[in-house]
């Protein structure tokens, strides 16, 4: 049996990689996929706790998180399409209208 901290470390690693992807990448789509990765690493932590505490409620939470992720993907991709149509690029560094 694999001990519990192993799973949590994997989850933490995936979350950190997701953060690195969001702040390093300039492609909006890759930033967006990194956010999906972070949501999934949180799911992994929830599933780990749910297994080791022998409570199945965590599975329901993961189910709801997946629904939120699907909604977020639909709205976010619509936003990306609108941005691309208006500005002709998805380079995050070129959206600097609000920069002081």
């Amino acid at each position: 049996m694999v001990p519990m901290p192993h799973y949590l470390i994997v989850s933490a690693l995936l979350f950190s990689i997701g953060i690195a992807g969001v702040i390093l990448s300039r492609n909006l789509i890759i930033m967006f996929m990194s956010i999906e990765l972070m949501l999934n690493s949180a799911n992994l932590a929830i599933i780990t706790f749910s297994r080791f505490l022998n409570l199945m409620d965590g599975h329901v939470f993961v189910f709801l998180v997946m629904a939120v992720a699907a909604a977020e993907a639909a709205v976010g991709l619509a936003l990306i399409i609108t941005i691309f149509r208006n500005r002709g690029t998805i380079d995050a560094d070129k959206f600097n209208l609000l920069k002081w």
Partner: protein, 175 residues
């Protein structure tokens, strides 16, 4: 055996995630994310979350990432030029931040007080833990209202996506 499967799945999940953020081409990036998600589904199944693991492959890898692929194809980014690389200091500081965050997580996990009786709990878990029937029973009894609210969330998301991505007509383009 168990631990070997864990290490293989974990290395594939983390390696594919790293490759995902390093890719220039978004299509390759999506494919690496699919590999990472399938490896995470292996971890889910190892934790006896069979239903959620199957859902991860079907909904995430099957539906959401295909949506990403559609959008990438639709945008036609072939001529997209990203600005030249940022200075090394800029990138190094960002990577340092991510590594520091990971170290914080490690300290947190190390210091966390795990209940002592966890191993007993593991032993007495029922054989159909994480199957479709027990999860569905929870979903339709204890968590019925959150589950119903999810449908409203999805409806709002669909309407929002359609309105935002719609091409505005010139005579009503005031949004």
């Amino acid at each position: 055996m168990d631990i070997a499967i864990f290490y293989i799945a974990a290395i594939v999940a983390v390696g594919a995630a790293v490759m995902m953020i390093l890719q220039r081409n978004p299509v390759a990036s999506v494919l690496y994310l699919i590999v990472s998600l399938i490896a995470q589904a292996v971890l889910f199944v190892q934790l006896k979350a069979l239903f959620v693991g199957a859902l991860l492959v079907i909904v995430y890898a099957g539906a959401i990432l295909v949506l990403f692929l559609f959008v990438i194809v639709l945008l036609n980014l072939r001529g997209e030029k990203f600005a030249s690389k940022k200075p090394l200091f800029d990138r190094a500081s960002k990577i340092t931040l991510a590594v520091l965050l990971f170290l914080e997580f490690v300290i947190l996990i190390k210091e966390m007080a795990f209940p002592q009786r966890m191993d007993e709990l593991m032993v007495q878990s029922s054989p159909d833990f994480g199957g479709v029937r027990p999860v569905a029973t929870l979903l339709y009894t204890k968590y019925l209202y959150p589950f119903e609210l999810t449908s409203i969330l999805l409806l709002v998301a669909i309407v929002g996506a359609v309105i935002m991505a719609k091409r505005e007509k010139s005579d009503e383009g005031d949004i």
